[in-house]
């Protein structure tokens, strides 16, 4: 039995897939804690699509695809930031506007200048056949991202919570924003190539959203989110060996399952607890009336 359970680890590609997924899951989860608070949750989705023109252009200029993808991602992120800052449009409109434009330009480029790149493969990714080069890239980017966020998470909280105050205590507001969106773009792009778009998009939303139901403190929210992100990712990759199922799909389903459990059973913000609070306050009111 134990032998059977340990079987995936005897394959090199499986153990790689497991820890790479965990790393990507942790990094995306860290970012998700911030994104969901500002209505930026669909940013991951947008960035995943916005890289298309970058990849097409990189092919035409015969540059590495990841470079093209990275710069297209950054460019898209900053376009969103600037449009948001300079207009009164809401986040969803800004995200939709920018990413459809980028996607359209990318498809246009591909149609004019057919590429040998299979965009499908880039958007879906394949964790089980990940190359060592890609692993290196993921490790470096996730490492940098986790270290910087680990050191500066409190500054980022202040910035996301109250930008005016962050400014008034002398925090470098613009620099911090640029840093955050650069990290986000880099992580999205790196994760895309390895685990695929669907997974990245879910990974920068669900863990943060679940943790939000479980705690009222930002520090704990980050820890819960990272734990959820990395454990579900590792476990999903591991489970995909037995179920012979798509890794990304499994990971996202696991994360959704945990979200649903929290949605119902969370100690303070869960459905059951809320119902209880309402009915008990109703009872005391009635008692008072009698």
């Amino acid at each position: 039995m134990i032998e059977y359970l340990l079987e995936p680890f005897s394959y090199n590609y499986m153990s790689k897939a497991i820890w790479v997924c965990a790393l990507v899951g942790a990094t995306c989860a860290f970012l998700s804690s911030y994104l969901m608070l500002k209505g930026w949750s669909l940013m991951g989705d947008a960035l995943a699509h916005a890289i298309v023109p970058g990849v097409a252009l990189a092919y035409i200029l015969s540059l590495p695809y990841s470079l093209g993808a990275f710069f297209a991602g950054i460019f898209a992120a900053f376009s969103m930031m600037i449009v948001k800052q300079k207009t009164k449009l809401r986040e969803d409109a800004v995200i939709g506007l920018i990413y459809t434009s980028f996607l359209a330009i990318g498809l246009l480029l591909v149609s004019i200048n057919p590429t040998a790149v299979n965009l499908q493969a880039i958007i879906l990714g394949n964790i089980l056949s990940i190359s060592d080069y890609d692993i290196q890239q993921v490790v470096i980017i996730s490492g940098i991202c986790l270290i910087i966020l680990g050191l500066k998470w409190r500054d980022m909280v202040a910035l996301f919570f109250d930008e005016n105050h962050a400014q008034s205590i002398g925090l470098p507001v613009t620099a911090l924003k640029i840093m955050f969106f650069t990290l986000l773009s880099a992580t999205t792009v790196a994760a895309l190539q390895t685990v695929g778009a669907c997974l990245v998009i879910a990974m920068v939303i669900t863990p943060g959203a679940t943790a939000y139901l479980l705690t009222d403190r930002f520090g704990r929210l980050i820890i819960i989110s990272i734990l959820l992100g990395s454990i579900t990712s590792a476990f999903g990759a591991y489970l995909s060996y037995f179920l012979n199922a798509n890794t990304g799909g499994l990971i996202v389903s696991l994360q959704t399952l945990i979200f649903l459990i929290s949605f119902v059973f969370a100690p303070k913000h869960g459905l059951l607890k809320r119902r209880k609070t309402v009915s008990s306050s109703y009872k005391t009111q009635n008692k008072d009336a009698i």
Partner: protein, 298 residues
């Protein structure tokens, strides 16, 4: 003013134009001293918030310059001179932070690179919470507080920061009378300790009660000086135009004798300002809660 007080904010010829071409401020000149509570009074859209945002470096003025304690805004912010208390409407109350976390953010500029709080920071947060009577709520999520408590959280954050200049944006909106009184007592103490307190408010009645100076603003500074001589009906009409509720009672309506003095009540839906004297009144009579008492010798 007999005793010399040191200048701390000096605003010269400042103008701010928004990207859409709207001129929010022009030719603002304002010098404020330490140890003073100054009210910034004007209609909505007169530029109160814009002026605040310029002082905290959030907006860069197109013209003129602002000096704080002799330094540029940027340097002053780095040196932790300015504490800012936002309008509570601007805050995301669902944000996952506890009361004490918010107050701790006021200590950031005293902390190191990773903002890990020291024992001293924790003590400062405890003291600040105590001064605004929120100690027992320190473990609450901020959205679980009442209106007055919410306001006090941000005042506590400013206290914890201990800046020499404290900017308060509409501190009394949605606040009950008791909280208002306790905040006013606190502001007075802070001014006594040499802080400059600049309060934007449309609560006209409370201005004479706790402010030393008043600056009336409508795109530019219309008048600035001590409350007694500057906070007059004439200046207020200039600042507000027809935007205020306005009641006047004159001579024979008010007096049995031939006294020609009249009474004027001005209000912007908050505590009213009551003036008494010739031509509708130069004398402010509602000093705080003893509203309505008129000294016969006036």
């Amino acid at each position: 003013m007999s005793n010399y007080k040191k200048q701390i904010i000096k605003i010269e010829n400042v103008g701010v134009t928004y990207p859409n071409g709207h001129v929010a401020l022009e030719k603002i000149n304002l010098t404020l001293n330490k140890g003073v509570i100054c009210a910034l009074v004007g209609v909505n859209g007169a530029g109160k918030s814009t002026l605040f945002k310029s002082i905290i470096g959030f907006l860069r003025p197109a013209t003129g310059n602002i000096k704080i304690d002799g330094k540029s805004v940027h340097q002053a912010l780095k040196q932790n001179i300015i504490s800012y208390v936002p309008q509570t409407e601007d805050v995301d109350w669902d944000f996952p932070v506890l009361v004490e976390d918010v107050v701790m953010m006021g200590r950031y500029s005293h902390m190191g690179f990773t903002r890990r709080p020291s024992a001293k920071d924790k003590k400062a947060v405890g003291n600040a919470l105590e001064r605004v009577n929120l100690s027992e709520y320190r473990k609450r999520q901020i959205g679980e507080l009442s209106g007055g408590q919410k306001k006090r959280v941000f005042v506590a954050r400013a206290l914890a920061q201990a800046g020499k200049v404290i900017l308060l944006d509409e501190p009394f909106t949605g606040v009950d009378i008791k909280t208002e009184e306790s905040l006013i007592t606190l502001f007075k103490q802070l001014a006594k300790n040499g802080h400059l307190i600049l309060v934007s408010t449309h609560n006209l009645g409370s201005v004479p009660h706790f402010c030393d100076e008043v600056a009336l603003i409508n795109r530019t500074i219309l008048a600035h000086g001590v409350v007694k001589t500057t906070f007059t009906q004439e200046n207020l009409s200039k600042a507000f135009g027809g935007m205020l509720r306005h009641q006047q009672l004159f001579g024979s309506d008010l007096h049995d004798d031939s006294d020609t003095r009249g009474i004027t009540v001005l209000t912007d839906d908050e505590r009213p300002l009551v003036l008494y004297g010739e031509h509708g009144g130069q004398q402010i009579i509602n000093k705080g809660s003893d509203m309505g008492k008129v000294d016969k010798n006036d």
